[in-house]
């Protein structure tokens, strides 16, 4: 008895929302037994996205866990004691609402990029004791604003202490810390310490610099919620809205040498220096 004519099924799969022209691959599978002719039309983009995702996941998952922990606000480094000059700016009436806050955050991120990313970059590329001491000395002379300098040392020391205890697979962290404390000349400034930890963990310098800007943004927006400038949901919305500007700051200021470190917001520097004159304050800086 002859087989009935095979029905042809065509399945179109459109998952990608990309605007570029889609290349369609058609594959006809001839089944010798069932005689079903099935055409698969798959989006080429989807195939490529899947391949890239699998590649990224396969690259050192252990590093991802450490990365997320390092950037998690729950890490007890005392970052939440600092407002980056926001509290002083509010009391000087430079920032009084959400629009002012957004501008403040953007100016702060640009200044962080121009002034501190070179230190993160150098420390990540060369996470050695010698470089740590050299960068610490230079940054101590660069952070002439006493309020900002003390905040940097306070956060950096905490981060070093926590990292030495948490990342026990990096014994050089603990030994570096012990040597520096013993010598008494190193202050443990935040940016180089962060860079060194990233470098020793195996993070690339692009990620460590991006992460530093992310942490600054996270902490200043958090300070804004505690200063009642914006609510928690508004803060989250603001953070996402500013993310693309933050990324452009990273791209503009990354991978520069420490000799080129500069400040781009002198008004912010002036106002942050006023923090100790505040009669009533919530934050350390």
């Amino acid at each position: 008895m002859p087989l009935p004519a095979s029905p042809i099924f065509t399945i179109h799969a459109h998952f990608s929302k990309k605007k570029k022209k889609k290349k369609k691959i058609s594959q006809k599978i001839d089944s010798l037994e069932g005689g079903l002719l099935v055409c698969f039309v798959m989006d080429q983009d989807l195939v490529e996205t899947e391949k890239r995702r699998k590649r990224e996941i396969n690259i050192d998952p252990g590093l991802q866990w450490s990365q997320w922990q390092l950037l998690d606000s729950i890490l007890p480094t005392g970052g939440f004691a600092h407002s980056f000059g926001l509290e002083a700016a509010i009391q000087a009436r430079l920032v009084s609402g959400p629009d002012d806050l957004q501008n403040f955050v953007i100016h702060l991120l640009e200044n962080t990029g121009s002034l501190l990313l070179p230190f993160v970059y150098s420390a990540t590329m060369n996470p050695t004791l010698d470089n740590c001491q050299k960068l610490d000395r230079i940054l101590d002379a660069t952070l002439s604003n006493e309020v900002g300098r003390k905040a940097s040392v306070s956060q950096g020391s905490s981060l070093m202490r926590v990292a030495a205890s948490v990342f026990t697979e990096l014994p050089s962290l603990k030994s570096m810390r012990d040597v520096c404390i013993g010598s008494g000349v190193v202050s443990f400034h935040h940016a180089p310490v962060f860079g060194i930890i990233c470098g020793l963990l195996g993070m690339d310098s692009g990620t460590s610099q991006r992460a530093y800007i992310f942490m600054t943004m996270r902490d200043v927006i958090s300070a804004a919620t505690r200063l009642n400038l914006v609510g928690p949901l508004g803060a989250a919305v603001l953070q996402h809205r500013v993310a693309s500007v933050a990324e452009s700051m990273v791209k503009k200021w990354m991978d520069r040498s420490v000799e080129d470190a500069c400040q781009t917001a002198p008004l912010l520097d002036t106002i942050q220096g006023c923090h100790t004159y505040l009669f009533s304050r919530l934050f350390c800086s």
Partner: protein, 258 residues
Amino acid sequence: MLSGFTASPMAVALSPYSLGDSISVEFTIGDGCTAVLTTQSSTKVYKSLGSKCSEQVLEARIGSGALFVVIPDPVTCFSTARYSQKQVFRVVSDSSLVIVDWFTSGRHESGEKWDFELYRSSNCIFAEGNQPVFLDTVLLEQSSPVDIAERMHEYQVIAMVLIYGPKLKHVQDQVQENVKRLMSQQLQIPSTRLGCCAKTNSDNCLVRPAFIASCSAFGPKGMGVVVRVASTTTEAVYRFLHHQLAGMEPLLGVSPYS
């Protein structure tokens, strides 16, 4: 003990900068000597052509027990101007320094406010063995995503005063006390809630201080003090500088910015 005292006012930057001028000056202040560097009027930087930048480099070595005082008028960059300056001071353990470095938004009376292309000013103090004591570079570039004018709000003048060394302890202490007193009166928690403030512009809570100053110690054993100022007028900064540096008169024979 041999000691020398020379107060020699010198005028520099006699002509306005234009079209990529470059000036380089070197000073050596001998042990125990005093030198004062000033200007006849504000340094004007004309508009630039293309990407040419007017530059000034100053290097000074200050000897033991010597005092170097740099008290210029402000730099004024015209629309589209490009200006870069670098000042390096090499000191020993008992050198003293007073450096005033300031700039305005431009010809702000004519409406030119923060309209220049590039302003960069770098001030560095190195101790013996090339140890960095103070490293500061201010960079304002129009090409950045954030407008310069927006960054400055309505402030038209930015100034920095460095007071460093054992001869100037009394001046440092007085300045710190003065600035703290001045600013404590200006800074307060906004008295009304956010919503009310946004509605009326005439409310006191929205009036920003016309003059902001802060003072920080720097260097080994707090040997130096840096004062940073932002002001809506140039006159207010002249008055401030005259008042804060009045204590220098016994050392210089004249009061700066009088």
